[in-house]
Symmetry: C2
Subunit: 230 residues, 2 copies
DNA sequence: TTTTTAACTTGCGCCAGCGCAAAGACAAAA
DNA sequence: TTTTGTCTTTGCGCTGGCGCAAGTTAAAAA
């Protein structure tokens, strides 16, 4: 566990003396499947490092539609804005996709730690920067790419994050519904279903209930980069 | 000028001793209309505070299409990621929309300043956080709103940023082409043109060449929030 | 095993918005 | 004043993708 925190994006490169304080000031927090670590708009009082499980960052629109922003795996940081004024609200909701455990630090401790060890601030900024880049990429995709390309891109990304080599190709190694994919790529589950079926016909993927396996990654990449149109 | 830096989002709340160093370490930088402060992907070597002019942050897609991310006014900070490892590339391009002047600080000085004065780091994070929130809002809009709503929202935002009261209503006080609006709202200049004309027919706006004046702000808000469909 | 629940597929109709082309309207330069 | 370049409008055709409804499959619960 210490190992995981040491490698976490927020506390990497922290000197061992300060690191001891990091360990002292954390609060463990467990949330079961479909529960929430925090909701969009809540006062940003804690930053989290995920220890085990999977957590989905999402937004909910006024009319109830969901947008999935990202899926987190152990070692990743979320709610990092807590280092700022806790009057800021979290910009998104963090929901556990399975029983999950995380460590939490509150604003006061975070700031104290950051003052002792500037690299914590830099790490937090690095995190935010990475996220900004990702959001911009996604925005670009939403504006310029067809739905098909966006789905291809999401699958490639999930595969690189959760891919597991099996005999038929690369399996995305956790239950993933058509609706999940739709919420990540900004479309509907119907369109996702149709697209995946078409790809299966072409032998590019193999699909099942809550399961996607990529047989021809190269074909998907071509699609994502718009090198080929169907 | 000092006043402007004092109030700038990056250096506000900086103690007067460190502030003196802020002033010492800056480099003035002028760029004329259509010129660039930096391009997406360039090594992020400097952070800027705009003194005068207007600067557009944009992305260019592989096929040449532009996406406008935001428009900056004097006092605003851009290129703030320079505080991180300069190996990071700027996530977007900064182009002057008119002759513009800014002050720049390089990574080395920024870091030194941030170490002396933690509030600089906090300010930088605050900036990034505000930007993240904005990007998420925009992503939500792209996924869930109709083009009409998105245009309405962009106009409201521009009006709140640059609005000038005139007799007919609130004028967006700088030359703004249909193409500009399209790049901000993720659509085409044709659709923008049609939409604005329709709104003019309804008396909601008054438009001219590179000019938009909002006569019934309330009507636009209703549209943006989808309280009414045409 | 049967039942229930949730995920998925598929056909069909529809329309918002795109893309193009051609023409019109300004503004600045010559 | 005329010219030139840029910005804008508008008609027309087209289609990607949405939305719904009805049916199918598969897993989980009873």
């Amino acid at each position: 566990m210490q190992e995981l925190i040491r490698q976490s994006s927020l506390f990497k490169d922290v000197g061992s003396d300060v690191f001891a304080q990091v360990l002292e000031t954390c609060i463990p927090r467990s949330v079961e499947e479909d529960g929430f670590f925090f909701m969009q708009g809540d006062a940003a009082s804690h930053a989290f490092v995920l220890l085990e499980g999977r957590v989905k960052m999402l937004q909910i629109t006024p009319n109830g539609q969901q947008i999935t922003l990202r899926i987190l795996t152990p070692g990743q940081t979320y709610g990092g804005i807590a280092i700022l004024n806790p009057l800021e609200g979290y910009p998104a909701t963090a929901q556990a996709m399975e029983n999950s455990t995380a460590l939490a630090w509150d604003t006061a401790h975070l700031r104290k730690l950051a003052e002792m060890e500037p690299s914590i601030s830099l790490n937090a900024m690095q995190l935010m920067h990475a996220y900004i880049t990702e959001l911009q990429e996604r925005q670009k995709a939403l504006v310029t790419d067809r739905v098909e390309q966006r789905i291809a891109r999401i699958l490639m990304k999930l595969a690189s994050q959760y891919g597991k080599k099996v005999e038929e190709g690369v399996l995305i190694n956790f239950p993933l519904t058509r609706k999940d994919i739709a919420e990540m790529s900004g479309t509907t589950l119907f369109t996702v279903s149709r697209t995946l079926k078409e790809w299966e016909r072409q032998g590019m993927v193999k699909i099942g209930r809550e399961k996607v396996c990529i047989c021809k990654p190269h074909g998907l990449v071509s699609l994502a980069d718009d090198l080929v149109r169907r």
